[in-house]
């Protein structure tokens, strides 16, 4: 068996409710070594509930979780030793400096590599000498990210990881996660900012109202997804003709530029457009945001 096919995370029929309130229902998914899974859904969809169960903060009502082939209920200490966790709004002890916080967590883990941590802090431009309570949200998040990475875990569980990070640090974060992946690590990244995971993920799972509505490789999702179309013409007649074809959806016209979404056979579109006099045409893959919205519309019965 190839290394990349080793399953590091396996959720089977996971269900959790809070009394009358829904948590998650019948969630099943898996993650292999060297893969990154984007776990996407709007606020309140059940992402954090799922992560809380992964980390043993909560017990599922039914179903089970295996991490590295071990039950996370029975082998919580062993599995968590190999996991790095970052919450969206990481709560750290405000009275400690970044170094003190990391030293403390390092001592608890039994791993504290000063040099490695310094390297991460440099890459993220993170000042670890300041007290946590004096740090901005983004800088707190950096300390949290270092705490998730400092023991070089095999599996990263990241809940809205880049909230509060500026674009430069976000880019560095992406590089770090991709390096982690190239070294054989896996990551489970929850987010509602879809562009956040688009660059990183191999697989994407959509969750809505506690239920998994899609779980596919990212390339498969993008392949069958609608395209973003942008056409420009010399005069409005051509633009009007395109509109009359009624094959492009969500049309928006700005002067002699038409934009919209096309979700049918691309050859059919090209044959229809061939008869028209156009200045320019661009056909782009839809971003994950559009795909996400489409999934939601399709399942919103």
């Amino acid at each position: 068996m190839k290394d990349s096919k080793i399953t590091v995370l396996n959720l089977k029929n996971l269900t959790k409710s809070y009394g009358k309130f829904r948590g998650v229902e019948d969630i099943s998914l898996s993650l292999n070594k060297g893969e990154i899974l984007g776990f996407l859904g709007p606020n309140g969809a059940g992402k954090t509930t799922t992560i809380n169960m992964l980390l043993n903060f909560m017990k599922p009502d039914s179903g089970y979780i295996e991490i590295f082939g071990l039950s996370n209920q029975d082998h919580g200490l062993e599995t968590r030793a190999r996991i790095g966790y970052l919450a969206g709004d990481m709560s750290l002890d405000g009275r400690m400096t970044g170094w003190q916080q990391l030293e403390y967590l390092g001592n608890i883990r039994g791993v504290f590599n000063h040099e490695y941590i310094s390297g991460l802090a440099d890459r993220l431009s993170c000042d670890l000498t300041r007290k946590i309570k004096n740090l901005s949200r983004g800088n707190k998040q950096k300390v949290g990210l270092i705490s998730a990475l400092m023991h070089q875990p095999e599996l990263l569980i990241l809940d809205e990881p880049t909230s509060g990070l500026d674009p430069i640090v976000q880019a560095e974060f992406n590089k770090i996660i991709l390096e982690h992946k190239s070294e054989g690590g896996a990551a489970f990244i929850s987010s509602h900012v879809l562009s956040e995971v688009q660059e990183l993920c191999d697989k994407v799972a959509f969750i809505r109202e506690g239920k998994l509505i899609a779980n596919k490789p990212l390339k498969d999702i993008i392949k069958g997804a609608p395209k973003n179309i942008r056409l420009s013409a010399d005069d409005l007649t051509a633009i009007k003709q395109i509109q009359d074809l009624r094959i492009i959806k969500n049309i928006h016209i700005d002067g002699t530029v038409l934009t919209g979404i096309y979700d049918d056979d691309i050859n059919l579109l090209l044959s229809k457009l061939a008869r028209l006099k156009l200045d320019d045409i661009s056909i782009l893959d839809a971003d994950l945001e559009a795909i996400f919205m489409q999934y939601y519309e399709d399942t919103n019965v």
């Binding site: 903060f57 001592n107 608890i108």
Partner: protein, 263 residues
């Protein structure tokens, strides 16, 4: 200081310990210095007080000796500061950290809930012990300033018993917080227990109906037990220790089983 949960818990409370400890020390010395005035005036006034009030204030003779005064005034008053601080710490330590999300950051590491629970509880015990020792020092310093002889052993025994009363109420708060995850419930339940217990114990000598309920009050095992004369009696010591252990064990069993999340 960041080697483990216990030492870190002590370290993060260092300023609170220092502030509360100094306050305990100075307040105790101050109350001790009031003894000569109380001895002359309060003792005489108590002669005309009805028996029901004497149950609360003590007998006139008790105020003629520094040991009696210390038991009735110093321990009785300072004990409440230890109790209040104990309940505050018990609520803030585990369930407070859960609400902030700090507990989740810790539990994401390979550490058991059992270890977290007991390390934090041990830190609470140590902090309250330090506070009680500073109160003891205040009593001895106050007595020395007044040049009044007072038993060191008796004072330590009194301090231990008031510590156990405070620990009983603090472990109760810790248990409620650990088992429910609710700061409000933990604080208010412990506060009600502390208040009702005190009322029951002070009124029990004059109200037979409260006699049995009084066994559930931690104060019963310390207030009006004439600690300087009788020392620590096992039938007063054991119930408090057993109550602390029972509350701690119940809290632990429920804490390791329940869901943890930020509300």
């Amino acid at each position: 200081m960041f080697k483990n949960i216990f030492t870190k818990s002590i370290y993060e409370r260092r300023w609170g310990i220092a502030g509360w400890g100094v306050a305990m020390l100075l307040a105790t010395i101050f109350i001790m210095l009031v003894f000569p005035v109380m001895k002359d005036s309060f003792g005489v006034q108590l002669e005309s007080v009805p028996d029901s009030l004497k149950a609360v204030l003590g007998e006139a003779n008790d105020y003629q000796k520094i040991s009696g005064f210390t038991e009735l005034q110093v321990f009785a008053q300072m004990m409440f500061l230890t109790i209040i601080y104990g309940i505050i710490l018990a609520v803030a330590t585990l369930v407070g950290e859960e609400k902030q999300g700090v507990l989740q950051t810790l539990l994401a590491a390979p550490v058991s809930r059992t270890k977290v629970y007991w390390h934090k509880l041990l830190a609470l015990v140590l902090i309250l012990t330090v506070i009680s020792l500073l109160m003891t020092a205040g009593i001895l310093v106050g007595a020395a300033i007044l040049k009044e002889p007072i038993s060191i052993i008796g004072t330590l025994e009194g301090a231990l018993m008031q510590l156990l009363v405070a620990m009983t109420l603090s472990t109760f708060a810790y248990m409620v917080g650990a088992s429910t995850g609710s700061r409000v419930l933990a604080g208010s339940a412990a506060g009600i227990y502390a208040f009702v217990g005190y009322v029951v114990t002070t009124l029990a000598p004059i109200a037979d109906v409260l006699e049995k309920i009084n066994y559930a009050s931690p104060y019963r095992y310390f207030m009006n037990t004439k600690i300087y004369e009788n020392g620590i009696l096992l039938n007063n010591l054991i119930p408090l220790i057993v109550a602390c252990l029972i509350f701690s064990l119940i809290g632990w069993r429920l804490f390791i089983r329940r869901d943890i999340y930020q509300q």
